[in-house]
């Protein structure tokens, strides 16, 4: 049908190695970007931007962080929530200590702190693998949560124990704090997530990304081909935690506005983990699909009854949507254990070869 690469000949390796070698994919991406950058800012309501799109982008970025570690480098982690917390607290401390520093710089720096913490808690990965490693990252989760509560310096000894986001401006326009409109916050996050996704895609297809996948697939062979496990694993932890850290900072500064330790608890680690598993391990597209599935779908489900003038209790609706989501998760995992991204890929593959399914 329409999804064909017939007639699209590659004459250079550069073309063949492009991120999206098939023209239809490039058009598809262009349409998505056009919707995100032009249509939504023009037509979407403030509610849609601030309760659906902003959290969706934040979680997508966190899912990319975890997916780099889990899906590409093969190291299990249950500490995503805490690593996001490190980014958020670092961002808060930096911007209150140096109020004049540009919020962009602060944001990028705060990722460095979570990367460093990620490396420290990644050290056990040199010795242990799989579920046992997951348990040590769980230790990171609890230890860091403890720090967020006990070390008052982190939240400037606020009585509430919460971090309150101050107003920060870029070129006179408020981007964080109470004065920032959902639209500016959305546009800011959208730019950050777009750029960071592109960077992740580039790193993953080059030497460094390959070294992570080598360690994931066959660590012995990787080592005999000159990959140092120490470098590969710790760089994966650093890179992944950087993404989680920035996502955490974005979450507090551009979405929640203030946060306590609950925002970074183990539930959030699991939430991101589900997004990665549902979306598809080892797929960047999957991160967005997973975030949409876990975050956006429930919001839409909850909105359905009121659209039909049904008056259900909010709590009832909450339960119904949890049940529906749970059933859908099980359904999708049975149909395709490798996640939505794989399902999407199989669909595209079928289209490419249609109506000759045996041609490859």
């Amino acid at each position: 049908m329409l999804y064909r690469e017939a007639g699209q000949f590659k004459t250079t390796y550069a073309d063949d190695q492009a991120l999206l070698p098939i023209a239809q994919d490039r058009i598809g991406l262009f349409i998505i970007l056009a919707i995100a950058f032009v249509a939504l800012p023009l037509f979407a309501s403030e509610f849609f931007l601030s309760s659906i799109m902003i959290p969706f982008l934040v979680f997508s970025l966190a899912a990319i962080g975890l997916n780099i570690l889990m899906g590409y480098a093969g190291q299990l982690s249950l500490g995503t929530g805490a690593f996001m917390g490190v980014g958020a607290y670092a961002c808060y401390k930096l911007t209150t200590l140096y109020p004049d520093m540009s919020i962009i710089v602060v944001l990028l720096l705060s990722g460095v702190f979570s990367a460093a913490i990620g490396v420290v808690f990644g050290l056990p990965s040199l010795r242990i693998k799989g579920l046992y490693l997951a348990i040590t990252t769980l230790a990171a989760q609890f230890f860091l949560e403890w720090c967020f509560i006990r070390i008052g310096w982190l939240y400037n000894y606020n009585d509430s124990g919460a971090i309150e986001v101050p107003t920060r401006t870029i070129l006179g326009l408020a981007v964080t704090g109470p004065q920032a409109t959902p639209l500016t916050r959305y546009m800011f996050i959208l730019c950050v997530v777009t750029i960071m996704t592109l960077i992740a895609a580039n790193v993953l297809r080059g030497r460094i990304g390959r070294s992570w996948m080598m360690i994931r697939d066959m660590d012995i062979a990787a080592e005999l081909m000159g990959i140092k496990p120490l470098n590969a694993k710790l760089s994966a932890f650093a890179f992944s935690s950087y993404y989680c850290g920035v996502a955490g900072a974005l979450m507090v500064f551009f979405w929640l506005g203030s946060a306590e330790v609950e925002a970074f608890d183990i539930n959030h680690s699991f939430l991101i983990l589900f997004m990665v598993i549902i979306g598809g391990m080892g797929s960047l597209t999957g991160c967005f699909m997973g975030a949409a599935f876990i975050w956006v779908l429930p919001v839409i489900l909850r909105a359905i009854p009121s659209a039909f003038d049904l008056n259900l209790l909010a709590a009832t609706m909450e339960h119904i949507s949890s049940i529906v989501i749970g059933v859908l998760i099980i359904f999708f995992l049975i149909v395709e254990p490798h996640g939505l991204a794989r399902l999407w890929q199989i669909g595209k593959e079928k289209l490419r070869t249609w109506p000759f399914p045996y041609a490859t």
Binding site: V203, M214, L224
Partner: protein
């Protein structure tokens, strides 16, 4: 027995050929099991050296010692004139030793192309910054290495599976991709652990042709473990025979074939 093997060894090294790797009195034990006991032999530059022996003789362990995956309790390995007691696997890799595995050890989640590209890891130098942007030097580097990898893909006749994930390929092709991955390292010494095991006749012929061409066209020195005597006799310049972790013979294929120890321990049983 030792008389013949020693004369062959000295002949080879005085015939103008230079020794690339020499194994001296290596002993390797696992708990109580002696996998290798006091073995010495050498590999000359440019030759195809076969290592044969019955199951459990210690052949794979020998390769693991050579590329630093196991550390022998006694003895030493000299490679390119340098003696190292403990070599790390990545040091072996960066000094030009590559290998394939008895049980295919490909990166199963990656495509054929990426598997072979991964063999270029050590030769790619660009850091995170350029990789992240994927413009300029990093892109240039990726394209240069892709060109080299395409040469290997042509050589091994696997262009049709270039973009396929290797996990789903038939066994014979997987072995070929694994050879390609090792070739991508441009090794001086290539260790092949039973590259033809489980193949049919035609696949074996293809693989033998690749090994011979690789040796003559690229000048790669090859150490080959193989159970098929026909293949060994045809390909190898010299053969070392192990049995129960000990060296029982060393010489040209013809000499080894007529050696009484070998016939008793191995060929006698097999034929």
């Amino acid at each position: 027995m030792s008389a013949t093997s020693e004369t062959v060894a000295t002949q080879a090294s005085t015939n103008g050929t230079s020794v690339l790797l020499s194994v001296d009195n290596v002993t390797l034990t696992f708990g109580g099991v002696k996998a290798i006991s006091d073995i010495s032999f050498n590999i000359n530059k440019g030759e195809i050296r076969a290592i044969i022996g019955p199951n459990g003789a210690g052949k794979t362990s020998m390769l693991n010692v050579i590329n630093g995956f196991y550390h022998p309790q006694k003895g030493q390995i000299s490679y390119k004139g340098k003696t190292r007691r403990r070599m790390k696997p990545y040091q072996a890799a960066s000094s030009g030793i590559a290998r394939t595995f008895q049980n295919v050890a490909l990166f199963s989640g990656m495509s054929t192309l990426d598997n072979i590209m991964s063999g270029r890891s050590l030769k790619m130098k660009r850091g995170l910054f350029w990789q992240a942007l994927h413009v300029g030097p990093a892109r240039q580097e990726e394209i240069e290495h892709r060109a080299y990898v395409e040469k290997i893909i042509d050589f091994l006749e696997i262009a049709h599976i270039r973009k396929q994930p290797v996990g789903k390929l038939p066994y014979g092709l997987q072995k070929r991709v694994e050879l390609g991955r090792a070739m991508a390292m441009e090794p001086e010494l290539l260790l092949l652990d039973e590259p033809m095991a489980g193949m049919n006749l035609e696949e074996k012929e293809d693989m033998s042709r690749f090994v011979l061409d690789l040796n003559s066209e690229f000048g790669t020195t090859i150490a080959l473990i193989e159970h098929d005597m026909g293949v060994v006799m045809d390909l190898a310049d010299r053969v070392v025979v192990l049995d129960y972790g000990q060296k029982i013979a060393d010489g040209t294929p013809a000499e080894v074939q007529s050696n009484q120890n070998v016939i008793d321990a191995y060929l006698g049983v097999a034929s």
